[in-house]
Symmetry: C2
Subunit: 156 residues, 2 copies
Amino acid sequence: METGTTDQATDAAAVRLNVLDTLVGYHLRRTSSLFAADFADALGDLGMRQVLFGILSTIRDNPGINQGAAGKVLGIQRPNMVSLVNDLVDRGLIERRVARDDRRAFELQLTQAGAAHIETALERIREHEDLLLRDLTADERQTLIALLTRIERAGG
Amino acid sequence: METGTTDQATDAAAVRLNVLDTLVGYHLRRTSSLFAADFADALGDLGMRQVLFGILSTIRDNPGINQGAAGKVLGIQRPNMVSLVNDLVDRGLIERRVARDDRRAFELQLTQAGAAHIETALERIREHEDLLLRDLTADERQTLIALLTRIERAGG
DNA sequence: TATTGTTATACTCTATAACTATA
DNA sequence: TATAGTTATAGAGTATAACAATA
């Protein structure tokens, strides 16, 4: 007996995602990976990745921040910070100096090249976010950021 | 000269994320990984992962769907579907049958165990989403899903 | 003792190229 | 020739345990 819907969904357009579509986690997963893929496409030629950009801009907004503190606020485990910071140092984008008051810690600073690099990257990121979010009004975009921020605050 | 803000941000609470906080991609990254980690905590004992649950529920909502079609709608590459589907078959949660009309393709169906499993998982997922989203009203939650869905439609 | 950064390591996730069998 | 599924493999991303130097 025909019900009006097909039982055999081999055509992607006909596929239903009834349950998944009601789950916030699923939509976050999809949109997040959409943004990640676009970021890689848009900034891969600069050798820039989402994680690295996060570290760079955290250093820019908090000059002299410790490696560990930067990792903590970004949700990056300490062992994983090592090679990431090494990478940025090796490419001359940041400087790493032993802290005066705590010789275990490193203070991180942008170099001039790093400051220039982040400006270029930021321009491209904004262009690409504008494209990915072209269907949203400025208000809707602000609403989205506000909602996500509240989730982060409650959950982190 | 003191400006009222500190130049040395070693305390996580004092760290500013000025630039990052304005980027939708960053917030999606953080919230998505928050949900992913919580999912793993909540459903790890069932051997359930986000990807696997996505496949299971896609099969539930589209009985007899082809392996490739399921992967396509979920954004999973064909090669990566193989071991995921194998896993679900090995655990007795789905059945894989050669399609009558195309002997290259597999039709996927939930087993009874799979149907039961997905109900248990779904209950827990909803509980945990309720917890993660406890600061949002029902309306705000709907708004969030609607906004994310529109981004997926525009970008995918 | 506790903390900063490090090393080693392992596991998941994702991406690509090349193969097979069917169409 | 094109497509469904497969194999092999490599690169990110992330997690834990154990260590050295310093606090």
